[in-house]
């Protein structure tokens, strides 16, 4: 074992020992860290859930344009190409009369009388262009393009766009934005408090052992040899807090799914949240650990800095 490994081992061991010795100080520091990390984790999940809800609704939005039977293939193709060229359009699909009929029949498999009725007549369905918008807020642009007189005259019926969901979508987007902002503020506030409290805890630990630190300094211990154990101690706070906070959220979901019969709470789709949490468990744990370690390390490095300075020259 090289000197570096030996020294690193000693630093880690001392840090763990200090963690055990300062158990009560550790509880205070960890409590606040757990709250912070839980709030961060919670906002991550809620955020993902809202995004999913909005995505799902967006996915269902679809504008159908019905073409007159007199419109030629060439005209239809130009129209489709023009639509594709719009920046707000994600996808355009063209169904000629026969394809529209097939799609319609496929949708109504099992409805014998309807299928029979259709077979007995000429194909009553118009050729259809289906447009999928890229973004809900850009529906207007597509709509006004469709409504242009040149384009309008190709159409047999007014274009339909299940746009009645629009209002609901607006509400959800609005709520999501508010929640996101509140989340950011809460995370910022608690992260700050957390850093301050951990900072204080470590300062107390240092104060209790200032004689020891002074002796270490006089014997020629390097800055990192003295600081290392404090940083390790704080990193242990971070790791434990991350694990506890993710277990807390897990417990919360178990309780929620047991006691709530509904799969959603207001506009929050709990079943999706749960699913997201399960699917991203390791990834979320990694984020939590990284944040915990970062908060712990940063506050301990700052807390020890003042005690480790050498005297500067006085001229």
């Amino acid at each position: 074992m090289g000197r570096r490994t030996t020294t690193f081992g000693r630093i880690v061991r001392t840090g763990m020992l200090n963690f055990v010795r300062n158990a009560w100080l550790a509880v205070a520091a960890m409590a606040i860290m757990i709250i912070t990390l839980t709030i961060i984790l919670f906002s991550l999940i809620v955020n993902a859930t809202f995004r999913n809800t909005v995505d799902q609704i967006t996915d269902k939005i679809n504008i159908s344009i019905y073409l007159k039977d007199t419109v030629s293939e060439a005209q239809a193709k130009t129209f489709v190409d023009d639509l594709r060229a719009l920046p707000s359009v994600e996808k355009v699909s063209y169904l000629d009369k026969a394809a529209a009929l097939r799609a319609y029949m496929k949708q109504n498999v099992g409805n014998e009388s309807l299928l029979k009725a259709i077979n007995e007549t000429d194909n009553p369905l118009p050729a259809t262009i289906q447009v999928k918008p890229r973004d809900l807020n850009q529906l207007g642009q597509i709509r006004s393009f469709i409504e242009k007189p040149d384009n309008k005259k190709l159409q047999s019926d007014p274009a339909s766009d299940n746009g009645d969901r629009r209002e609901a979508i607006d509400k959800i987007t609005h709520a999501t934005n508010i929640m996101r902002r509140a989340g950011v503020v809460a995370v910022a506030v608690f992260a700050t408090i957390s850093v301050l409290i951990i900072f204080n805890t470590i300062q107390m630990a240092i104060f209790n052992r200032r004689d020891e630190l002074q002796i270490m300094r006089l014997l020629g211990a390097s800055t990192w040899y003295i600081r290392g154990p404090f940083v390790i101690e704080a990193i242990i706070y971070g790791i434990l807090s991350a694990i506890i906070s993710i277990l807390l959220i897990n417990a919360l979901f178990i309780t929620a799914s047991n006691s709530l019969q509904a799969t959603s709470l207001g506009i929050l789709d709990i079943s999706y949240s749960q699913q997201y949490f399960r699917n991203h468990f390791w990834w979320l744990l990694v984020i939590q650990l990284a944040l915990g370690i970062l908060i712990g390390a940063a506050s301990s490095i700052i807390a020890t800095r003042r005690y480790l300075k050498f005297k500067t020259p006085k001229k």
């Binding site: 030996t6 014997l219 020629g220 390097s222 050498f310």
Partner: protein, 249 residues
């Protein structure tokens, strides 16, 4: 110039017109002190409280920086020593304090081992070295005691063991006998002499004229921040002026 550089390499401690002022209104704690110590010398620094002895030692361990002047110890020029290398300097100097500065929660063995731990010595080597050093200070059988279970003299010998365990070129002892009764004081001095015989330069500050007079070593007297006298094989009396002795050089 060449001879200067040669001298620096040969000397263990070189102070050139070193002044230390803590507070301009109170005058200087040390005033233009110049001093040479050669390797393997045993030097006693005497002087009344407030004369500047402690300041001198603090300058050598780089706890304080001089207001002006040059300090070179063991070939290291303090002006050119960056802060991050101060620990490396301190590892080359063994220091013994009047108040021992032992870690109260560690055994005798652990206190001595501590000095080796911080420089990354392996546990195996520590287990090898520490008992030998405890043997030098006659504390081999007390390795597992806690500092509070020891007498003052024993504690000071633990501190000496800790200071020499890394085999420093220089041992600085700041009034190591200041808190001890005469018997224990002599135990400590005996250990210092032993270490000096092994080849370590020793710089000892003391108030104790008895010790100074019996040791018959080089004595530097500091008075009001200045070197009052510097004699080989000298004796010292705090009350009376230093009696005539062979003047150095």
């Amino acid at each position: 110039m060449v001879s200067d550089r040669y001298a620096i390499i040969l000397l263990m401690i070189l102070l050139d017109r070193v002044t230390k002022t803590y507070n301009k209104n109170l005058g200087s704690a040390l005033d233009r002190i110049s001093l040479h110590v050669e390797p393997k010398e045993f030097v006693i620094v005497v002087g009344q409280s407030g004369a500047g002895k402690s300041t001198l030692l603090k300058l050598l361990t780089r706890e304080e920086r001089p207001s002006s002047g040059k300090i070179i110890v063991g070939g290291i020029d303090y002006d050119k020593l960056p802060d991050k290398n101060i620990p490396l300097l301190r590892r080359k100097i063994g220091v013994v304090f009047q108040d021992f500065k032992l870690l109260p929660n560690r055994t005798v063995f652990e206190n001595v081992a501590f000095a080796l731990e911080i420089v990354g010595v392996s546990q195996k080597e520590i287990n090898n070295t520490v008992p030998r050093v405890l043997d030098i200070v006659n504390l081999k059988d007390k390795a597992s005691r806690m500092p509070r279970e020891l007498s003052g003299g024993e504690r000071q010998r633990v501190a000496i063991a800790r200071a020499i365990v890394r085999q420093p070129k220089i041992l600085i002892a700041d009034e190591p006998t200041g808190n001890l009764d005469p018997k224990h004081a002599w135990d400590v001095i005996a250990v210092l002499e032993k270490i000096n015989r092994y080849g370590t330069t020793v710089l000892l500050t003391t108030h104790n004229q008895d010790i100074v007079n019996k040791l018959k070593r080089r004595v530097i007297t500091i008075k009001q921040g200045k070197i009052d006298s510097d004699r080989a094989n000298a004796s010292y009396n705090e009350k009376r002026p230093v009696p005539e002795a062979r003047v150095r050089n």
